[in-house]
């Protein structure tokens, strides 16, 4: 009797394995591609009554990113956003301080805000070898924040879900992690929505976790690294210089929108 596996050579096995990996990989790739494509091309469902509570989540990058974020918020009508969650990277006291100062200076200080800390995705000068692990850590923390599982979070009861309605980012790496986490949750919601679709509910579904990214004012002709990564992820991508308007991740995707100077 001959053991059948013995006749399979190493190269046969390697070939089978690589074919399997290639098929599996391209399937995953196709799912990601399609879901990004669908997300970018479906209109925003009209479901929200005016005056309903809105939870805004703001990702504060660091130094210049944080400064630009608050320059922009100073000129934004904030009364709509009845609850604000500020996400800062660990060790970034500057951003946390700015958030506190902004909240105390606001016209109606209602104290409906929270500052949560997530691990830094990549420190300045950190090796690219260890960066994937710290990025994964950051991504996990972002996922927790979006699901309201971060220990510092205590959202008032009138908010029916822990998911923020809107995510506002302007880079860098933490923003990419947050956008990815939001997209993942939305993918799960979309897939689990299929069976309720069969039961034919006519009311449009609540859409949350939408991402607005605005590129730094300092970016004149070329998007930043985080900007390139966020191009297929953000629902609205704003740029502040005309040369960056109308860009898109690939064919069929949403284009960037030139919004003028948001920070001045």
């Amino acid at each position: 009797m001959q053991f059948p596996l013995a006749s399979v050579s190493f190269w046969d096995l390697a070939l089978c394995l690589s074919v399997a990996i290639a098929v599996f990989g391209s399937l995953i790739g196709l799912v990601i591609f399609l879901s990004l494509e669908i997300a970018h091309n479906s209109p925003v469902p009209k479901w929200r009554p005016r005056g309903s509570p809105i939870h805004l989540l703001l990702v504060l990058g660091s130094g210049g990113h944080t400064a630009e974020m608050f320059y922009m918020l100073e000129k934004t009508y904030m009364k709509e956003f009845t609850y604000r969650t500020y996400v800062v990277s660990s060790g970034d006291n500057f951003s946390a301080g700015k958030a506190k100062a902004f909240e105390t200076q606001r016209a109606c200080p209602d104290d409906n805000y929270n500052i949560v800390t997530v691990p830094r995705a990549r420190r300045v000068h950190q090796s690219y070898l260890t960066a994937p692990f710290t990025t994964l850590q950051c991504f996990w923390a972002c996922l927790n924040v979006l699901c309201g599982l971060h220990p510092d979070q205590r959202l008032p009861k009138q908010y029916v879900t822990p998911y923020p309605d809107l995510i506002l980012t302007n880079g860098p790496a933490t923003a990419v992690c947050m956008a990815l986490a939001a997209k993942l949750i939305r993918l799960f919601q979309y897939v689990s929505g299929f069976n309720s679709l069969l039961r034919s509910s006519a009311t449009p579904r609540a859409s949350r976790l939408r991402i607005i990214h605005f590129e730094s004012w300092a970016r004149v002709k070329k998007l930043s690294m985080s900007g390139v990564l966020l191009l297929p992820l953000a629902d609205t991508f704003l740029v502040q210089w005309p040369a960056l308007g109308g860009l898109r991740a690939w064919w069929g995707m949403k284009r960037t929108k030139y919004a003028g100077w948001l920070v001045i």
């Binding site: 925003v44 009209k46 005016r50 400064a67 809107l166 004012w217 004149v220 629902d235 003028g260």
Partner: protein, 183 residues
């Protein structure tokens, strides 16, 4: 009070710029232009250059001279260059750092940008260049600052700045689009 505020950024020193703005010719030019104060944020490792070029002097040519390394926020210093009360509109001289350019433009003080030749950063240079082209800032080499202060008595860039269409007054709209209101 009329202040000339010089900032070189927090991360690196810009010795040549510090030397230039503390030179007797430059101080004299400032005094001629009725400046009363010169304040220098000299950055990491710049204190030696500052004290050696200032020569321990607290004032020269009728100018009060001061300096500090860096601060988390320069808002207070920048606001001292704006027109309010008995304060006259001053001048900001900055390395091409994005943060300081943006902060200076927001308060509308004339700005001279002096890129540090030892520290080339691509996108910062791009920004300084386009702002120079559109006449928001004046770009200068270290040697030319004095002639710029002489030539442009008032450096009134802010008038162009006030009327530029690229500046938005209110931008609440773009966030509503993603909220999906019923009406």
């Amino acid at each position: 009070m009329k202040l000339c505020f010089v900032t070189v950024g927090a991360t690196a020193s810009f010795e040549k710029l510090i030397e230039q703005v503390l030179s007797p010719q430059f101080l004299e030019t400032l005094a001629e232009r009725r400046y009363t104060h010169l304040l220098i944020q000299y950055g990491k490792g710049g204190s030696e250059a500052f004290s050696s070029f200032a020569n321990g002097k607290q004032s020269a040519h009728g100018l009060t001279i001061g300096g500090f390394e860096s601060k988390p926020s320069l808002d207070e210093e920048l606001l001292m260059t704006t027109k309010r009360g008995d304060q006259e509109k001053g001048l900001i001289i900055s390395h091409a750092g994005t943060g300081s350019i943006l902060a200076a433009m927001r308060i509308g003080t004339p700005l001279i940008v002096v890129p540090n030749p030892d520290l080339a950063d691509n996108h910062q240079e791009e920004l300084a260049q386009i702002l120079q082209e559109q006449k928001y800032v004046v770009s200068s080499s270290v040697q030319e600052i004095r002639t710029l202060v002489v030539a442009r008595a008032e450096l009134q860039k802010t008038q162009i700045f006030d009327s530029h269409p690229e500046i938005q007054d209110e931008h609440a709209g773009f966030m509503s689009d993603d909220l999906g209101f019923l009406d």
